[in-house]
Symmetry: C5
Amino acid sequence: MILEHRIPAKYLLDIIKYELIIALLAGMGTRLLAGIFTDDVPLMPLAIPAFLGTSISVLLSFKMNQSYDRWWEARKLWGAIVNDSRSLILQLQSFVSTDQAPAIQKMAYRQIAWCYALGKSLRGQAALDNTNHLLTPTEQKAIAQHSHHPLAIMQLNARALQSLRSHKAIDAFGHIHIQETLTRLTDSMGGVERINRTIFPSTYRLVLHFIIYLFIITLAISLKNVSNLLVVPLLLLISAGFFFIEKIAFHLQAPFRNRPSDVPVTDIAETIEKNIRQLLGEAAKPEAIVKKSHYIL
Amino acid sequence: MILEHRIPAKYLLDIIKYELIIALLAGMGTRLLAGIFTDDVPLMPLAIPAFLGTSISVLLSFKMNQSYDRWWEARKLWGAIVNDSRSLILQLQSFVSTDQAPAIQKMAYRQIAWCYALGKSLRGQAALDNTNHLLTPTEQKAIAQHSHHPLAIMQLNARALQSLRSHKAIDAFGHIHIQETLTRLTDSMGGVERINRTIFPSTYRLVLHFIIYLFIITLAISLKNVSNLLVVPLLLLISAGFFFIEKIAFHLQAPFRNRPSDVPVTDIAETIEKNIRQLLGEAAKPEAIVKKSHYIL
Amino acid sequence: MILEHRIPAKYLLDIIKYELIIALLAGMGTRLLAGIFTDDVPLMPLAIPAFLGTSISVLLSFKMNQSYDRWWEARKLWGAIVNDSRSLILQLQSFVSTDQAPAIQKMAYRQIAWCYALGKSLRGQAALDNTNHLLTPTEQKAIAQHSHHPLAIMQLNARALQSLRSHKAIDAFGHIHIQETLTRLTDSMGGVERINRTIFPSTYRLVLHFIIYLFIITLAISLKNVSNLLVVPLLLLISAGFFFIEKIAFHLQAPFRNRPSDVPVTDIAETIEKNIRQLLGEAAKPEAIVKKSHYIL
Amino acid sequence: MILEHRIPAKYLLDIIKYELIIALLAGMGTRLLAGIFTDDVPLMPLAIPAFLGTSISVLLSFKMNQSYDRWWEARKLWGAIVNDSRSLILQLQSFVSTDQAPAIQKMAYRQIAWCYALGKSLRGQAALDNTNHLLTPTEQKAIAQHSHHPLAIMQLNARALQSLRSHKAIDAFGHIHIQETLTRLTDSMGGVERINRTIFPSTYRLVLHFIIYLFIITLAISLKNVSNLLVVPLLLLISAGFFFIEKIAFHLQAPFRNRPSDVPVTDIAETIEKNIRQLLGEAAKPEAIVKKSHYIL
Amino acid sequence: MILEHRIPAKYLLDIIKYELIIALLAGMGTRLLAGIFTDDVPLMPLAIPAFLGTSISVLLSFKMNQSYDRWWEARKLWGAIVNDSRSLILQLQSFVSTDQAPAIQKMAYRQIAWCYALGKSLRGQAALDNTNHLLTPTEQKAIAQHSHHPLAIMQLNARALQSLRSHKAIDAFGHIHIQETLTRLTDSMGGVERINRTIFPSTYRLVLHFIIYLFIITLAISLKNVSNLLVVPLLLLISAGFFFIEKIAFHLQAPFRNRPSDVPVTDIAETIEKNIRQLLGEAAKPEAIVKKSHYIL
């Protein structure tokens, strides 16, 4: 997530540099050609690029809307993971007999590990990193044999719950109640995977780029009598605006790609660890020293 | 689902070829007529096609919005099917007494078969293909007698659950809890069928096409003094943009038609099979060799 | 629901014929007046109708959006009715002791009758038609005494459920579980009634028509130097597009008025009957011979 | 709720009369000033008011959207109240032992009274009017002592439910089940209160009015060479359209203010009374004679 | 929340003063430069700023939409907190044995304290202020040791509930039922924290500002032949409209920053205290004397 700290200009420019170069070439090429065939290109009226520009803003607005919705849905799902992680501990403490504190702690640690692992696996990173202080080597080995690590951790906790039940440390009602929380966590896991694996209709993006270039070319022809000193920056600045919004949307669509605009899953998992440890009555993990940056991950 | 791999230009052009030909004929025909009656058609101001163009982008944006929502809702429902399939297995393992592993496996296999069958039946294909390794011949025969195959599979699982209950392998609470998961799966099944069978108001599409052609004709008249060399590509390119977006929307509306833009139900069902087999502790089904393509189904 | 079959042109034209006649009269009247007072009406710039046209498309887009949402919500509620009808049977079969098959069948038939009756009553038709094969004469008579027929059928089923409980054919858990399904069906019933009885803010429609006529009049004045041969079809075609979209929206808003654009409640109820009979293991009702039409109801 | 009956023109005009007078003064004043300083105000191009007009329609569309959503959410919440009121009676009849019919009737009457009281209190009227036939004088007195009358009625019903439980007239499961219905009713009550007490960002309205007046002034300057005979009606008609939509939105935002555009809470409460009495097997309350009007409350 | 009382003009102007100064400087600077290089800047057509202006309104509309949705979601979550706080007390009174009134009162007071503490902590203020009349010094001290005060209060109530259970003052069903209410409250707490900590994509804001300045500069060039007397106020007024809407959106996005446009969490918590005390049968807390202001917090 990009913070409101001062965002470096270099970062902003990097985002759209290729598109701007192509826009510049397209615009300049068009003006050169228009200069050569000056009599054949007499009267491209400005109304054409003007309405194209308005249309682009409408189409961008749709794309921005849907992309923001995906990003916000992803954020909501991680919010639900925070909530259900907290509730899971409160419920375990409320329904499991008090002599089972070690079992509760073990399940709580696995829940923290699940959060880290889910975040990592969404980003295509090694899911079991950062879990040495939470999982035993045996557990890690068992989990590593599965192809879907977070699901394997979830199954361990479901079995631990069943084992509490078969040892009469929890009754049927508590069992169901906590299993429902695990089901909600499974739903959230599936939800973020869905967002991560479903590509936004990619042909839409092609058409949008196509119309933006059409806009640049028709604008370049329309303004062929205006000085280059004015037209070049104008073309660049307007197309920069359009491409920038398109890129913001493109990045928001896929919020787990290790980019500054990501949903900050690692940061959220650390919050969950802090909250769960508080509920367990443990001291907080020593805060890592963070470098000041314009984003968190 | 169309992947972000390079999409073949031929595929893109095929999508709108008929519309482009009609657009070309309409535009050229208009210019010819305007050339003939040149004195009667003196002053169609460019403001007319310009505002029509803006209006088209607004109306397209609405259509794109609703179509995307249908597609995304379909994707969400299949996401819920993934989640509930996983949860079903976790719940069976948590609530059914451990000596019933074969019964659990049988229900799990039926659940996988249900996913394949639902995907196939949405696409109007033979629903029981790909289920030989999951259903016994007796089951297949029983299911085939019904008109609604996925519902028949669901009923088999509901009966299996009741049979576990009557054999005391599950208690009343677990019975209800798992029955609720079946109910959610029934809801998801009904949801995707609803999307599949409900046609987006088809008169809207007619009006949209009508206004796009009106735009082309008025634009052709307005530009009658501009050279054909400029007007023909302009007409074609702008209408290509409009028709393309309309077609994307049209395809997203009906996401189970065996088209590249479909919700990839077969791919999802394979993921479910992989996940469920992992939860059962089974080896994964040998991965099929996939041809690299620009889409998955 | 209008199918994608070829929609008759007459049907399309009928929808907007009154509006088009008024539009023609307004446009022509304006031009006549403008011709008479030709010196007083010198310079209505085309920018006025152009921006009005764009504004109309924005306002229409809002209306189309909300109307579509109502229609889709109505369709979703009927989808929920399909789902809960299926689930009701599965749950009865799962929780009621097996010697009660006749009672289950009776409740299932009442559920089918409820679907037909709800659809009919939404359209203001006799709610108990088509239910002779489902309800006994005694039941029909009892229901007919109530002012709200579907609610009366629902109450009969709630009582049947309680009777099963008091005869120990179902335990407390199953009772609650199935009562929850009846509650969801009650919610869906209330939902479609809400859509049916709540009028979309009707003043909005007045303003929209008002602005469309304002557009036609200002356009007619602006184009007063252009030949009638061009202006009349232009006025008619553009206003046809606007009025058509407005009418589509108007029809979608109220999806239970016995119009081709309705949610096809009868068709859905027939599907439910087919599904429930399959779940009961009965032969399907003989398919009625349907006349091929461009819509279903 | 405004019905589709013929809406009196006076009602429509009353809604925007102040805004129209200000618009007229602003427009005329501008023209006068522009006439005086005619050389200093040479060239306000029409493109300025034209793009402002388009922008206004976009901004109005947003406002209309959100306002409609609030109104529709309020309507949905009252729909949920209808559903849960019906379900409450069905559940009481299903779970409370049959010898408790008088207790059920008492709770049902309180539920009806709660609906009337909630509607009245939302409109800032005396909440206990219209409840003499439903509540005993003792109950009315007890309720009147509380600051929140509907909540006090709800508490009476919650206590009645607990009393049924402590007299063993209902078991634990039924108790929970019906308490959940009361919780949903509490949620709906809180929901409509939220809509009623939360003011739509009122600064947005100020800016919108500001831009509309800016539009009128720039349009008046742009058209300074056009005859007053044409400009005055044009200014009035266009701004009437804008102000009217703004007012519709403004009224929809706050749907419990005793205005014709309200959610018809009294009408809905009467429907609930009719439905509940039917479920209790009572004769309907004699229908009040209603004056034909263009709206219901 | 800003009330509909007269909003001071100073407050309104303060909101956008910096943006207006920059806009003025940019516009004037451009005009000066355009005056100097008057031959090089001959023909910037007005269509450029006009379409930019329309585009800005579209992009602003998207931003306003999402910001309003965040604000409304935050308001809804606080509405859910009101509902669940009321329901919690009704449920405690319904399920806990009547001799436990002091324990219920203690939990009710903690629930009130939780509401105040959550509101304060969202605004980054001392969370335990205003809770002296609700929490004992021992409780306050225990809570103060945790980093997350509202979560600590929630845990105290969860433990109190478990203690009621272990003392047999509540049965298993009531325990689960009330624990579910605590879970919903945990969800609402997580929800408002999510909104508070998630920054709206801040690059979007940069682009929007960038395009508004681009609009101002191109407009200033286009109007270079129009008198300063007209252009300066025009530039200022139009950009004031745009910046104002952007600022409204910016403030709505983050509704817990101690600003007049906040969700009024303190006011809501006071309502909850009043309602809960009524349900407990206590006298209301003496109303604080409020200064009349144009907003509440």
